[in-house]
Amino acid sequence: MSSILPLIKNECIKIIKKKRFYVVLLILLILVPIFTYAQMKSSELSRDKFNGDWRLELQQQITDNQNSLGSNRIPEEWKKYRLIFVQQLQYYLDHNVNPKEPNGVTFTREFMDNSISLFIPLLIMAIASDIVSGERTTGTIKMLLTRPVKRWKVLLSKMITMIMFVSLIILSTFAISYLISGAFFGYVGFNMPVFTGFQISGSNVDMSAVHAVPQWEYLLMQCGLIWFVAVTVALLAFMVSVLVKSTAASIVVMMAALIAGTILTNMASAWTSAKYLFMVNLQLTSYLAGTPAPIEGMNLNFSLIVLGIWALVSVIVSFTVFTKRDILN
């Protein structure tokens, strides 16, 4: 066990020195201000329209959604979403809580919510897809394996390092989006109540379990779920990185899978066995927020198990392949 720590240390330094992590930070530093600015513009617009009264805006939103419920041209599936959405908005309105109160924390919460299925996995891939295949592209894998360390230890050290950086990426996403959006919207809002516990049965929302949590607690839970998703994606990317020779190829494979996931979530529902695919299960935070799952019969535990199995399989595959394979050229 003593020999694994230096290996992890080595890997960490490599990631930092190879500037992989800086790329992630740079992407965040460029994109978050753009999103913040867009959000600011849109909230300015609605302020002009509704006298700055969020209740009026919310009521109009409810009315508009109710109107669209009546239209025959809207698919039943969407109607269900909107019906649930209306009921939740109504709940916020009835309890006099602004679900979108503009502040840095709310922005961060929504940003994290939106980035769980594509943006954060993308950032993760910047590190995870490169961690093994990068060594092969440059040929340094041979140096690594000629050292008197067992192969599985080499791989394990890489995996642990990767998970460490997954946590760091989530931390930086949170920190950067809070710091930047706070400059625009103010750094308050940690104690604002957020409702959770909407239970969806059919197209109705069961309000009996709804309770308010302070926003910081909600964020904590949210980030925990994001972390689980990110680790799963990282382990999958790790497996691909072991299987494929070049970094580019492994990024493309993972990207294709993730994008297929977002497309599938939008159309799915008819093809119910799609729920066993990992990319359909990435939106874990929707269980917290009470948005309906893309396919009937999915719930938090189901998604956790599906993701867990995918992660476990990819760990097993990575280790068996890596320890057995000959390293040529």
């Binding site: 006099n96 760091l168 516990g197 949210q222």
Partner: protein, 287 residues
């Protein structure tokens, strides 16, 4: 190699702490979703500030806050520009009075009946809007009397105007009997609606948009439709007369001989020009 040491230390400590925090959050989330703790805290409701409570006449008001509630006519269905009479009257009022005129909310919902409106008026959000408004434009009743009219129109090739509430009416067309039978109950409900709005906001000026008969050019429906609409408008007027600050804006006469000109292609809702005519009347009714 000092920098490496520093990198390793900071990275390892920060990442381990973060991982632990995230793990706690993760476990917490699972717990909360699977076994939510209900009713841990009641949220305090800040008492909502109501209107000033002074029954000003319309002239002395510095600005008009307008809200609209009711059915598809309030929403503006059929208007090619989507404005409906609500936006048009807001614009018209701003122009003719020179005062600041804002539309707070348009709460019109396609297919709303008096029954639906009565329950809607209990909603916190709706009451909040109505309490703030100086002028409330109300349009309701058309769907009670002419149930199934939307179906009739959709058979004619329009899909946009379907009614939400009435999913039960398969293949029923508008018949004379149906109109007659709907009248007593609906007009009683209208009274309830008007009274409720009055209680919610005692100081606002309520403008009720009267009904017209969209079937005036169909032989079998002309007489019965006209009769029903007239009776309806009478009942409405009787209720409205009991209160201060309420008025009925008639539209019946506008449409009687101008159906072709003012009705949209679904043959039920007004078109842009029809809405403009109604809006003109509303503006006259307010000032």
């Amino acid at each position: 190699m000092n920098s490496s040491k520093w990198i390793w230390r900071s990275v390892s400590i920060v990442s381990i702490v973060t991982t632990l925090v995230l793990l706690v959050g993760f476990i917490y989330a699972i717990k909360d979703v699977n076994a939510p703790q209900v009713g841990t805290e009641a949220i305090e409701r800040p008492s909502q500030q109501l209107g000033e409570g002074v029954a000003d006449s319309m002239d002395s008001k510095k600005e008009y806050k307008i809200a609209a509630i009711g059915d598809s006519l309030a929403k503006g269905t059929g208007d090619e520009t989507g404005s409906g009479f609500v936006k048009r009257s807001v614009e018209g009022l701003a122009k003719s009075s020179g005062k600041k005129t804002t539309l707070l909310n348009n709460l019109g919902i396609n297919g709303l009946t008096t029954d639906g409106l009565v329950t809607k008026l209990d909603e916190e959000g709706v009451q909040y809007v109505l309490k703030q408004s100086d002028v409330i434009i109300l349009s309701i009743g058309g769907n009670d009397l002419f149930q199934g009219a939307q179906l009739l129109s959709s058979a004619k090739g329009e899909s946009e105007t379907s009614a939400g509430a009435e999913s039960t009416n398969s293949a029923h067309e508008v018949t004379a009997e149906k109109i007659q039978s709907a009248l007593p109950k609906a007009s009683a409900q209208l009274k309830v609606v008007l009274e409720k709005i009055r209680v919610i906001n005692p100081d606002s000026y309520i403008v009720y948009v009267g009904l017209y008969n969209p079937f005036g050019d169909m032989k079998e429906l002309k007489t019965v439709g006209n009769e029903a609409v007239t009776r309806w408008n009478n009942v409405a007027l009787t209720t409205i007369n009991k209160y201060e600050n309420m008025t009925l804006v008639p539209t019946y006469d506008l449409f009687t001989h101008n159906l072709k000109r003012y009705l949209s292609s679904d043959h039920f809702h007004p078109n842009a020009e029809g809405y403009q005519q109604i809006a003109n009347r509303i503006v006259q009714g307010i000032q």
